[in-house]
Symmetry: C2
Subunit: 148 residues, 2 copies
Amino acid sequence: MTKKNSEETFENVKKIFTEYLERHAHRKTPERFTILKEIFATDGHFDIETLYIRMKNHKYRVSRATLYNTIELLLDCGLVTKHQFGTNYAQFEKAMMLKLHDHFIFEDTGEALEFYDSRIDEIKAYVENLFNVNVSHYSLTFYGNSHQ
Amino acid sequence: MTKKNSEETFENVKKIFTEYLERHAHRKTPERFTILKEIFATDGHFDIETLYIRMKNHKYRVSRATLYNTIELLLDCGLVTKHQFGTNYAQFEKAMMLKLHDHFIFEDTGEALEFYDSRIDEIKAYVENLFNVNVSHYSLTFYGNSHQ
DNA sequence: TTAGATGCAAACGGTTTGCAGGGAA
DNA sequence: TTCCCTGCAAACCGTTTGCATCTAA
């Protein structure tokens, strides 16, 4: 992806967040946009502490309270997703606009690989029909190790 | 299921645990078997605090430390499974010997329904082949609400 | 007898909360 | 000017740990 493209992508994301904040009468503070920028500038999963340290290294100091607060907004407007890979702390990642994806976690290192298999959508439809419910989101994670 | 049958089932479970403890040179303490019994006497999910209180109500006092310790053993020998349904505390349930099952969680109440769809095994095979890994376990959970 | 297990309470660590000060609208 | 938001630090709470005591083997 070219630099121009990723800039365009971030502009889209910024617009989505801006509209979300306006729609909910939330203030457009510089902290909120800086956090959004930091999240979209890096790939992969992160937890709050990692994000906190990363922003400090980039000479931008925010409080953990603001990070938790802002992540909540980003989750609510769908720009970030939350994972709980069997640990007792949450991990996040920027939302994939193009397709949903699921995870394989290496049990020894915690490293995450991503995949997508459309059969999950069939299972989802099965569940919605079986229980007469609406599924708003789901989590599919495999855990294991290298073959031998 | 008759009373006789469920007693037989618990005898099996007790035997599995006993053999596990012997194989690993762990002591067969009364606490460990009482905890196992308490877990298999009730259905559904539970967390450590709930189990702790339930045992207290049954006039059997164990420390939380022993509960955490014993749960770890039960997980290791496959008699109990652990879930982390997006919260920051773990939930457990006795292992289903007959079939694996997955969950639908009501977002408002936290209530859990269980289901099984064999297409998950196809996805598992796909992932193992894709990444050249062995999957030791997995987690599939849908979240949502009643249809209207 | 003795190494491993228990119970208690303190420590730990991620997350939440209360509040004074600051800044977006 | 208003009152929502931020930063800080304390509180919170599920989980882990240290240690004296106990007990299964």
